[in-house]
Amino acid sequence: MTERGLEDRAAHALRYFFLRRLPTCRQTVELISQSLERPLTLRERVATRIHLWVCIWCVRYLEQLQLMRDTLGARSKQVSDDASPDGDSLSAQARERMKRALGQHSR
């Protein structure tokens, strides 16, 4: 057996070792979502941490969920503070309808 073949076999064995023991990307992104809702168990944390160590895609997934959360929180505050650059407004009809309704009910 050549040296090259031995290296390949070692890499293959290592890959299989991780593949059998680590959660897949599909399982990892579900855990990433749950980590925003509850503390993960030690076992889940370790498995996720190792997966993220070797998988840039799941790292991006985590960063993107965090970005969505931060952006939506900020958006919610922006709209509450009336600081949005793109203000939707009530239509003229809705405005009239509401004024009429308030007029009728206050009598």
């Binding site: 897949t24 990307c25 992104v29 991006r60 969505m68 650059p85 203000g87 809705a94 509401m98």
Partner: protein, 210 residues
Amino acid sequence: MEQDETSEGERARGRAAADPSEWVDLHGDHLYRYALLRLRDAALAEDVVQETLLAALQSRRDFEGRSAERTWLTGILKHKLVDHFRRASRQVCASPDEGEEFGHDELFRREGEWRGHFAPDRAPVEWLATPAELLEQGEFWETFRRCLSPLPARLASAFTLREMEGMASEEICEVLGINVNNLWVMLHRARMHLRRCLELNWFAGVGARR
């Protein structure tokens, strides 16, 4: 012009109306934007605002000016929105498969030793944006609204209550009549879908790296 509107808004924020019909002009747009961000439908947002103003009219005597009029009205609107989510959730029975297609299974490899891992040509790409930049881009929020619109009502409600209201899990479960495991599955599917939809329709176009 822009400046005038802002200062008009500034004045309206702290003012109290002499007559309830003035609420519409003073606070109507504010309440409408607040509702529209949380609902997916302009007509529905208008209805909820009208319901809010009528409810405010009923309880006007209890309002003693302890807070600003706008804060008081927004508080009533929040209750009306939660009522809406509660009703909408009761119209369809909860099922574990609800919104299953939004889990986007096609992003993962189906066979081979990498089964269940991301398929390289569908894996998350790098997004180049910060929350502050996205807040300034009106078109992004159009895209966001379009991405949220196909989700089943309960999934969208769960996501909105969690990410926009910042409501606690137990409270959301109570409003939607689901258990916490259902909620986690729903949030996962909603996030899977929104992330993928925003990636395809926004981030892929504005400079993403693979």
